[in-house]
Amino acid sequence: MTDGGRRLVYLDHAATTPTRPEVARAMLPYFSERFGNPSSLYALAREAKEAVEEARGRVAAAIGAAPEEVFFTSGGTEADNWAIKGVAAANRKKGDHIVTSSIEHHAVLHPCRALEKQGYRVTYLPVDEFGRVEPGAVEEAITDKTILVSVMAANNEIGTVQPVAAISEIAHDHGVLFHTDAVQAIGAIPVDVDAMGADLLAISAHKFGGPKGTGALYIRRKTRIGTFMDGGAQERGRRAGTENVPGIVGMGRAIELAVGEMPQNAPRLAAMRDRLIRGILDAVPDTRLNGHPTERLANNVNVAFRYVEGESILLMLDALGIAASTGSACTSASLEPSHVLTACGLPPEHAHGSLRLTLGHRNTEEDVDYVLEVLPGIIGRLREISPLTPER
């Protein structure tokens, strides 16, 4: 990929993906032509309504759900907020305890913290050095006051895939609802609400080739959950607000493409991922892989370079046209090392030197070559500047 002649190797697909051109094309008519409000009665509006329902069908099919269990939201953050706050509010009489993991996205952790301020209690489960939650720990954490277990399907920073089926089984054995943040999982690993045992599942279109600002919450039939956005009767009265019709249409297209292409795409990405990991670890001493060696997303590379700091790496990569991340993009303005890497037991100075490269379907083997060509030099340079680098 080039950007006005300048080379651009985009390796931050976990932060966001380009909207696929065919997806953008599908959205386009819904801005200025088929612009009706789906809640209205006339032909123009019915056209919009049908487009929304067609997209709902596509999303449902992609995750093994029924269409009436899919509710569109403004993104993954809203879906997670709704799942957690909605279950908490509707089940207050039953209990006040939530079990989650210490490596969830802030879209899960911060709603939990907000609930703690309201008097709910939250257990943040530890993870092992590879970022895995131990299902046995869920069993131990559940009390008779537990109303929700929320563990993400796959982590956005280190790509570790969680044993959600085992965890949901434990939750259900205790009559507790199970939510999973599957924002990073769509198109990367199989997502099936029944196989995963999900009562609630959050997704976000811009992570799989769809537009920013559209997501969905899957809500299994009969799940006790309150509303989050109150107002008009959209989404069968459960999520108010005029539907983002173009966004929803785009999400439907994108999920169909992403899940349909997964059988071809995932192995290709995994091969590039493994070449990147091996190449980096071979070329750069004092480097370790973050996350799980095998139970990881096909597109995720996350390595910790000792003696250097991540932002410096990013900017040097950026100067060479490589877009990468040092942990969650959402927290890049913060000075604290990633809560995920810290939870995996990485000392802060190693966490600060972590680099995340996340592949997408536009990436090529040449992109991998290019990174392997320039990255060791960048680390070498920064280590020269660093007072921590041992003399050799």
Binding site: E309, L315, P337, P347, I385, S386, P387, L388
Partner: protein
């Protein structure tokens, strides 16, 4: 996010390295916060004849150390002590608010190195902070 000056001093740091026969050394910051600066000075006749840095940290930290060493080279100790973090940030054409602490760290590094020099000379400490 960063000014051109910051990017220039980050990509082409001035005075990077360590003076072998330094007579003033200051190390500030800690790895938990993600910033460590090590300033080495060669001081002769109360004047900084050479200043070098090594920095573990973000682009702003590297650029601040580079700029700070530039600003104090050739200066007397008192002149160097008068170089504030604001002066460093201004010379860099500004720093984002959450990165201002990098310029503070550079100021502290210089003070610490000069303190170290004065301590070695048996002189009183240069500054309270």
């Amino acid at each position: 996010m960063y000014s051109e000056q910051v990017m220039d001093h980050f990509m082409n740091p001035r005075n990077m390295g360590e003076i072998p026969d330094a007579n003033g050394v200051g190390e500030v910051g800690n790895p938990t916060c993600g910033d460590i600066m090590r300033i080495t000075l060669r001081i002769e006749d109360d004047r900084i004849v050479d200043a070098k840095f090594k920095t573990f940290g973000c682009a702003a930290a590297i650029a601040s150390s580079s700029m700070a060493t530039e600003l104090i080279r050739g200066k007397t100790l008192d002149e160097a002590l008068a170089v504030t973090n604001r002066a460093v940030a201004e010379a860099l054409e500004g720093l984002p608010p959450q990165k201002l602490h990098c310029s503070v760290l550079a100021e502290e590094g210089i003070h610490k190195a000069i303190d170290d020099y004065r301590a070695r000379q048996g002189a009183p400490e240069a500054s309270g902070g």
